[in-house]
Symmetry: C2
């Protein structure tokens, strides 16, 4: 037998549809007499009633839905930030569950645009972008006029929106200071693609400290094509060709670092004696490596939690918390340095 609608429940119980609606709701249930409420709820369960959220969304103008944009679904760090966001959004005591619509942009502006339009057509209550690149600025700015837009992980230079961020500049600086302490005189960065602020900031923070401490960097920046281990592996040749040869490498993320490590191993060089490697993010694999990876732990919980908080307060129209301080990542020293 087909599942009933509120109207049918109402008929069966001889009450009005609105009573059913109230009895089944979280916030208006107190308006209905305890006994009718229980009667209604029992009947709802017994009959297999299932609320129609598309109808509720239309009527309310809010869909209990947030759109999430991520550059790459294979990136553990992004996924973990999203997990934290979702967890936080649905742990709320009273608040009704929010369903995330998750999609990846692959850092293609056209994809970002298309997805944002879909989200807006689906009447999402907010958009969280972890995928923002400069090319998306306009699209995001426009979206922000219709619905709250939150930036997480990646910020945008020319667009001020509520953000949940890691202090990547400081992250880079932390690595440089550590390299300085260890006595390195010549070091090298393997940078991720520069379309996002993230890698840029890490590079700047690192270089600033190097300059200050008189540590030498190669004149030409080394960029990996993607922030993946395969791409990282390919950059080792370029690193070793710089002269004098660096004794430590700061890879802009752990995947790059792992690629480098495997390449170094193939050459028969020793880590960290011949060359030290530090990564960024502290993915799980960092601990599994035979030589566990020194890296900078990304403040996943903080960023995710803060993003969720922003979403919540913007949806309910609370005062958006003012410019918030980015979270400081933390150096994790292991065996590759």
């Amino acid at each position: 037998m087909r599942r009933p609608s509120m109207k049918e429940l109402a008929e069966r119980l001889g009450v009005d549809r609105s009573t059913i609606s109230r009895a089944l709701s979280e916030d208006k249930a107190h308006l209905v007499a305890p006994e009718t409420r229980e009667k209604v709820r029992k009947m709802a369960v017994d009959s297999g009633y299932r609320p129609d959220l598309t109808a509720a969304a239309l009527r309310r103008g809010r869909s209990q839905t947030v759109g999430v944009l991520v550059p790459d679904l294979e990136n553990e760090t992004f996924i973990n930030v999203i997990r934290t966001i979702i967890g936080s959004l649905n742990s709320g005591d009273g608040t009704p569950a929010t369903t995330p619509l998750i999609a990846e942009t692959q850092d293609r502006p056209s994809a970002a645009q298309r997805l944002i339009e879909t989200y807006l057509s689906r009447r999402v209550d907010a958009i969280i972008s972890l995928a923002s690149t400069e090319a998306d600025e306009e699209i995001l700015a426009e979206a922000a006029r219709e619905v709250p837009v939150i930036l997480a992980v990646r910020s945008l230079a020319a667009l001020s929106l509520p953000s949940a961020l890691c202090d990547d500049r400081e992250g880079g600086a932390i690595v440089a200071r550590y390299f300085a302490e260890r006595g390195h005189k010549t070091v090298c960065q393997v940078r991720g693609p520069l379309l996002a602020t993230t890698f840029n900031n890490r590079a700047q923070g690192f270089s600033a400290v190097c300059a200050e401490k008189g540590i030498k960097e190669p004149p030409e920046a080394i960029h990996a094509e993607h922030a993946t281990s395969a791409a990282g592996k390919k950059t080792l040749d370029a690193v070793l060709q710089t002269s004098p040869r660096p004794t430590a490498i700061f890879a802009h993320n752990d995947a790059l670092a792992i690629g480098l490590i495997e390449a170094i191993r193939e050459r028969g060089l020793r880590i960290p004696e011949d060359i030290a490697v530090a990564g960024f993010n502290d993915i799980k694999m960092a601990q599994v490596l035979a030589t566990p990876l020194t890296t900078v732990a990304y403040p996943i919980e903080e960023v995710g939690e803060h993003a969720a908080q922003l979403v919540r307060s913007l949806i309910t129209g609370d005062p958006a918390p003012g410019q918030s301080v980015p979270f400081i990542p933390k150096l994790v020293i292991r065996r590759t340095t």
Copy 2:
């Protein structure tokens, strides 16, 4: 200025709302005069009209949405199957875009149940489960009475539903045959958790061939707690304690294999001379390793494409293709064996 609804467009153009609806639709556009159609479309663009998909969903009874259940968002293979599904679902020439609702179960039946209920309340047009475990059978069976349910990657013993699968049994057999060819006499499996059919089938296929070829396996099965590299790493002790010591290990997936490799390396044993390792799935990392991993390539495209096809035909009510043959995975020989 706020974005207009169809009604407002209709008023501005002096036509009926239904004309707007038709002109803007894909399949009914031909019913409206070319000039009015263009006039409507131009006005829609100029005014920034944005269709309200929550309203359309309510009216049509179809939400242009599919629910996707995945056990673990960090698993590259699952993600790639999902990517293929989404790509295929949205590449359709005429078919309107389908938005996926993606969520992970972490293999917790309670999570699966909650998510399926959310999906049904949101009136998804279909559910694709890559996360099916025995514990979910009832829930899935019940869901299948309301909406098409497709199983991908993982099948279910007691529940016959349209499925897109890999022949895991054959995958295990392929590895065993290869080990036999290489002359191994004592081998060992490191199995994934047994709540899903996948690992069970791989184990059976492998063992059947071993028995047939007279290859020895340890009497007690070795199970990793999770299908991750960290868990795989921990199993090496157990493997080396079996006697006689195996000369080859079949890890039920690449993450396990990588964990084992790192553990083997820590001990100073050589791969493949002292011990050979084969994985399953062929994740990207398999090629990046200093000693590239021999593994069984998962038929990602085929499984994803087939799942998408099933979704399409079940949604449109076409005859569901009969019991389909699982796709055969392919051995990729590299350097760890």
